[in-house]
Amino acid sequence: MLSLNVNGKHVSADAADDTPLLWVLRDHLNMTGTKFGCGMALCGACTVHVDGQPTRSCTTPASAVSGKRITTIEAIGATRAGQAVQSAWVAESVPQCGYCQSGQVMAAAALLAANRNPSDADIDSAMSGNICRCATYPRIRAAIKRAAKGLRA
């Protein structure tokens, strides 16, 4: 039995040891906010935080993060950075199809938790692992800047 700390709660799942964290979250814990896009850590749709670090859950075996703090899109709104990001996402009309946005929000929240005044280069560096086929990138950039401004205020 796999034991995890997800969003501040201790949970367990009857999943094989090699099961990626993504599928434990989605199929065993019924937390479907984290999305499956590529299965190879190429698109970032599955991004969660492990001890605050943005992590691709599709290639991270759940057994490897047992004992670590896992935060998902379901709880990121409870953090200051996450709340600022989600409000900015709505204000800047970021989402189109929306499928990648959980991962985008998680990547952006991790960036802003560490850096409240990111430059364009910082944003490129933190966000270029997250694909959006609707190409909402200009609005993601604007929303990150808006959220950063709010966090600095």
Partner: protein, 725 residues
Amino acid sequence: MKTIVNVSRRDFIKGSGALVLGVALPASTLAQMKVRTFAPNAFVRIGTDNTVTVIVKHLEMGQGTYTGLPTLVAEELDADWPQIRAEGAPADAKLYNNLFWGPAQGTGGSTALANSYEQLRKAGAAARAMLVAAAAGKWNAPASEIKISHGTIYWKDRRATFGQLAADAAKLPVPENVTLKDPEDFIYIGKPARRTDARAKSTGTAQFTQDVKLPGMLTAVVLHPPRFGAKLKSFDASKAKALKGVQNVVAFSTPVTDGVAVLAKDYWTAKKGRDALTAEWDEAAAFKLSSSQILDEYKKLAATPGTPARTEGDADKALASAAKTLEAAYEFPYLAHAAMEPMNCVVRLQAEGCEVWNGEQFQTVDQMAVARLLGLKPEQVKLNQLYAGGSFGRRANPASDYLLEAAAIAKASFSGTGGKAPIKLVWGREDDMRAGWYRPMYYHRLQAGLDAEGRLVAWKHVIVGQSILTGTAFESMLVKDGIDATSVEGASNLPYDIPNLGVFLHSPKMGVPVQWWRSVGSTHTAYATECFLDEIALATKKDPFELRRALLAKHPRHKGVLELAAQKAGWDKPLPKGRARGIAVHESFNTFVAQVVEISTTEKEGSHRIDRVVCAVDCGVAVNPNVVAMQMESGIGYGLSAALAGAITLKDGMVEQSNFHDYPVVRMNQMPPIEVHIVPSREKPSGVGEPSTPVIAPALANALAALEGKSPRVLPFSNQEISFA
């Protein structure tokens, strides 16, 4: 005084505790609705909880239809925007057909808003009239004195919400005729109302097919044949079945493909099971050509006449007598849609029928196809609409490919085990990318003739590529005299004033499944025509903007966006060395788009940077200018991905790409800043989901030509080692 007289009860359309309206429907449909009681078969539902739910017949796949269509209802209803909800319509070809397509429900060709513009405004206006009538009855007031503003109904000191009058309004007859607002009085149309789906999609709560979980549901992961058209000979499931958690392994066959599915309670177990399968395939009828062989064949065809798609004057004669001729050929690869949500579908098959959960783009076509496969009547197949994690055309599959696969697996599982487990088919990225249904490969050959003064007097364009529509539900409508309109659109309606013009088509058959891909024919015709026109400008030492302007004298809307883009980009202002601009203009789906791209060279050899994209659009009335801007940006990013590095290639019939490492797409660091400018217009609205897509590649190529003297003739640019940082 009562202004509305109750008519017989059979004329009522009544929802349980709510006002349900199907008010813009033809009389014949209304008559059918009367006998069907309380079916959710309309566009507006006003709840006693004061919510206004707009039933949207189109798929929300990112393009904003769950915002644009409710805006039309909210406008005529004078609703308060926060009380508006959007809900996907069930499949119904009579109530929810695409008015531009005849008796079929579906989303495509940038038609959602355009075909709904009057239908949903009328639906909102009728709901408003009934609420006014209900208030008039309740307050014993003249209807003409009752006003509605932002969801509140007023008369003198009386006030009511929609919710408070919903039950009364539901008892009233639906008005036959309604008056629509004067555009001067619009409060929402033309304003940037907030998207109805923004919050759910920023918090991970929006429901996609991938997120559906039903009691007892099994996930199916499939093994497809290595080549299109191969048949399953045999398979060995012993290793798969030995894995803990694998519940079942079934072979399936649909009109599209054979395959083997592994079923488990979770994706990871099913995927491990799939990976442990071995299968033998009969490849006698399989497609085995490589992209290079297909191209060779297309090149040979392009040297022969082809079927005429448009003929003005005599292009061959004019070419023969021209003072100077130019020629160019362009190559386009197959392209995958690569939506973020890989294709998937949930099917629950029971004795009495079948229920489907899907981001459903082609409702009535899919419903019929699933019914046929399962031996059911279409009405026994219930579709549940969900958000789609992108589509770009893919989820409107002409053969209902992935839906049939899910249904066939459910059927095989059902009869094989007697079990009734709902099935969720989940494709991995590799399955999605290799399953076919690509934008076809194309080869274009263009020739131009100039007279002694350098005027363009002849234009000959030969297009070679698979027909998308032949064999689909649209064939009878859009394939005429051997011409698939979607193979030549954007070329056969070339707007430039050229006295001798010929456009010809070859539609060779290839065993690669092909499909419409965001902006369809224009994905290649815009590139070929707009790049070739710049080659002509360069050869005649004319400014590309001025040359277009001169040739577009009879096309004011093309000219309008061209001039707006050029003006906003400062086309006439000189640029420093190492920097250049390119321009392109194109109409698709009745929407006109021009873009100016500004690029510069970087320190790295062969590498460039896109500094800026200026986009002008004329889409008639811009119902929501923010959504229009979003779609222009999105189309630019999507078109840019294809231009820079997008290619599906075949080696001996096998697809060489599998995931985003070998099918790279534009990321944050490559996305340029974009400015969108909308031409003010009173014309009927036209779609915006597709029309910016085809313009970016030629505008960018023309910037490269301005910078370095030539534009790429083979796509994607990465094939010629042209890269963008």
